[in-house]
Symmetry: C2
């Protein structure tokens, strides 16, 4: 990947389109937002596939994240909590199992889990 | 942050705009692309500030990345190499020093460095 400097930030050309990134949200998506997005959507996408494979019926998945940063260590991201809201007629135990499988198979969680504490919770909505 | 499921992926509303993320590049930016972007642009942006603070004259910064993934471990990102191309009348030793300061101050590098091997190289272009 190649990142080019532009006013206030950087840009990169990807298959989906041009991505603008900047520490200033007027010029692009902020780096920590991209980091959190990579972890949350990798997990959401894998969960979606796992639920389908387990033949569980659902109509929607929402992922809400909470982030903790450490000001004393260059403001690094220390913790990402993901809360999944899954719409469907689902059993709690099976969702729990699906989330365990998801965690093991999500490449982004596996990429950062030794540096960033990643935690999950979920709720089922009818 | 809140991520909503859409066809083929997820989306989130941020200050800069709507971000579409998907494992399929037809529907959004891929999670690993966002992870790499967060690390590369955080570094590029911090380097820009460090060079300015050190009163070094430059007109452009480009960051090229190489990524190594591990298929045996859920295809996790194992290594990100960043190559900085800096345009300016600069001394090699001072750029090296600036990159060390950058690494310590880049919150994204500090967030993932215990999980992902992050390496840097650079070249100066007149």
């Amino acid at each position: 990947m190649e990142f080019k400097m532009k006013e206030g930030g950087f840009t990169t050309d990807l298959e989906y389109g041009e991505l603008h990134i900047s520490g200033n949200e007027e010029y692009g998506f902020r780096p920590y937002q991209l980091l959190v997005s990579s972890v949350a959507v990798c997990s959401g996408g894998v969960l979606r596939k796992v639920l389908e494979r387990m033949r569980m019926e659902f109509t929607d998945i929402k992922v809400n994240t909470e982030i903790e940063r450490n000001e004393k260590e260059a403001n690094r991201v220390e913790k990402i909590h993901m809360h999944f809201t899954i719409k469907g007629d689902l059993k709690e135990e099976k969702v729990k199992k699906a989330l365990e499988v998801t965690r093991r198979n999500c490449s982004m969680v596996q990429s950062v889990k030794d540096s960033i504490e990643i935690t999950e919770s979920f709720e089922i909505k009818a």
